[in-house]
Amino acid sequence: MTSAPGEAVLEVEGATKSFGAVAALSDVSLRLGHGEILAVVGDNGAGKSTLIKCVSGAHRLDRGRVRVNGDVVALRSPIHARQNGIETVYQDLSLFDNLSVVANLFAGRELTSPRRTRVVGWLRNRAMTSQVAEILAELEVNVPNLHAPVGLLSGGQRQAIAVARAVSFATRLVILDEPTAALGVRETRNVLRLVKRLPERGVSVIIISHNLEQVAEVADRVMVLRRGVKVGEAPPDAEHHDRIVGLIVGAQTGPL
């Protein structure tokens, strides 16, 4: 990737967003370094989803700025966010259950012949299959049959396919919204292992969760939101653990 280590991939400054009289987000700022994994934690209604929707282009900020690689960008839509190298894995995964693993990874940007012919181009199924096999191998995602409809895969496999799709689109940042909420213990472990590998591909990660224990394993830093306000930020080590928990539930106030 082009940015030097330490340079910010994403900077959010003073993000503020209200829905009617409800202030969902007040003056939240964050900085995400190249190849960094940031966990955003907080209770229900803390503003986690609103924050990522503003960064993924689904919502527009009332006030505040988003910088991508140093440039101020007004993200208009998820497609626009994608053009800026930002990809989101939604909680519902947004997979096509009736389509194969290969078709899902290339959905909307299928390889065609003649090259770059939209709509009426012929599908280059073989080329897509080999690229999908490659990226899944790289991410160490094991799916026995790339032509099986995604609806037949297990929860963990589906999550992995959704993450793999995001990673293959994203050049800078992948946002994961509660990636382990619906998974069992072992599948959670495997998905987190997959997330840990993403910085190797030069991609930064924001992972949203209400489960501190899970994200503590993979995150470099944890940011805590409470009632739309950023109440603290700390590395997820043993030293800070109890204080982070305190911030999440509101028992702890003040700096860490």
Binding site: E110, G121, N142, L153
Partner: protein
């Protein structure tokens, strides 16, 4: 139940070599899957075998020619309907568009002798109604294809009565009559038209990016929007093609009778929808094939033909057809469950179930 082999993120290492019996089981699963996918075709084959036994006239060139000819209108309509159903929508106006196309063609034939012009006008009529359906649903954001096309059913029927003044207009150009009623060596031209149209649609849906998008929109419309598929344009395009199919069905219908009348095509959309569903598609979208749809249309046509040959009172026909539709859905549920189990096994879930 555990799923030892199907887990994700198993570190890449030397995978255990497949044993001979595992290989055999894999091949067996693949073979069984192929048979199960052919479900509707098996029903058709059973019907043909049964009718061959019950009637000496069934398996004759003349009768098969008749059967293919009589099935062709529904087959074309069903192929167009399939595209719309694949996206999760429905077109209730298709039968009325057939009627409108026949009277537009017949009316125009009174002032021109150009067969090509008449055919073009009939196709354009269908495509125009389809475009209107699509635009109303997607651009005017009315959303419900059921309601919009129900309204269009009424409008197109009314237009057909207005254009024809409620009477049957006879006399169409030779081109239209040939398409509807002539055959080449026992093979009706209408059947050839069906094959040509169906092949084209099959290629479009299976080989083009557009076709992938049709299945994607039916599978998960919201996800389609998120990954940048022009969902509304795809939806409009299937309605235009569905309308075009109805226009083409109108050409065959008009040619069969050498006339245009506002009452032709009555309820034909229901036969088309039945054919699509009997052919294995789901009304919720994302699943179905052109081949299955053609088989579905042939199953309906065969039942109609068989009841005639067996001299069953015609009043019974709708009852039989309706029962077959309901039975077909029941059978398809069973078949789909079986198919899912086989596919799970193929996907690596050893016991054919999700953990």
């Amino acid at each position: 139940m555990s799923v030892p082999d199907a887990d994700l993120a198993v570190p890449a290492g030397p995978r255990a070599r497949q044993t001979g019996s595992a290989w055999l089981a894999r091949r067996g699963t693949g073979l069984a899957l192929r048979v199960v996918v052919l479900g509707p075709l098996l029903i058709l084959a059973a019907l043909w075998a049964l009718l061959s036994i019950l009637s000496p006239y069934f398996f004759t060139t003349l009768n098969i020619t008749n059967l293919l000819q009589a099935s062709s209108v529904v087959a074309i309509l069903a192929t167009g309907q399939l595209l719309i159903i694949l996206t999760g929508a429905i077109d209730l106006s298709a039968g009325a568009v057939v009627a409108l196309a026949t009277v537009v063609g017949a009316k125009l034939a009174q002032s021109t002798h150009s067969g090509l012009l008449v055919v073009a006008a009939m196709l354009a009529t269908g495509a125009a109604v389809g475009l209107a359906n699509g635009v109303l649903i997607e651009k005017a954001r009315l959303g419900s294809s059921f309601v919009v096309t129900l309204g269009m059913l009424s409008i197109a029927t009314g237009l057909a009565f207005v254009v024809s003044d409620g009477s049957t207009i006879t006399g169409l150009p030779a081109l239209v009559d040939d398409v509807g009623s002539r055959d080449v060596g026992g093979l009706p031209i209408s059947a050839l038209v069906v094959m040509g149209f169906a092949t084209a649609i099959a290629v479009l849906t299976l080989r083009l990016q557009w076709g992938r998008w049709v299945y994607a929109v039916g599978g998960n419309r919201d996800a389609g929007e998120r990954v940048g598929i022009p969902v509304r344009a795809v939806s409009i395009s299937v309605f235009v093609l569905g309308g075009l199919a109805a226009g083409l069905a109108g050409v065959i219908q008009a040619g069969l009778t050498d006339s245009g009348t506002a009452s032709s095509g009555f309820n034909a959309e229901l036969d088309a929808i039945s054919a699509v569903v009997i052919g294995g598609a789901t009304l919720t979208g994302g699943r179905g094939t052109v081949f299955g749809t053609l088989v579905g249309a042939l199953i309906l046509g065969t039942i109609h033909n068989g009841l005639n040959l067996l001299s069953v009172n015609l009043n019974w026909e709708p009852i039989v057809l309706g029962s077959v539709l309901i039975l077909a859905i029941g059978a398809d549920r069973l078949r789909a469950g079986f198919e899912t189990r086989l596919r799970l096994r193929q996907a690596g879930h050893e016991d054919g179930s999700l953990a």
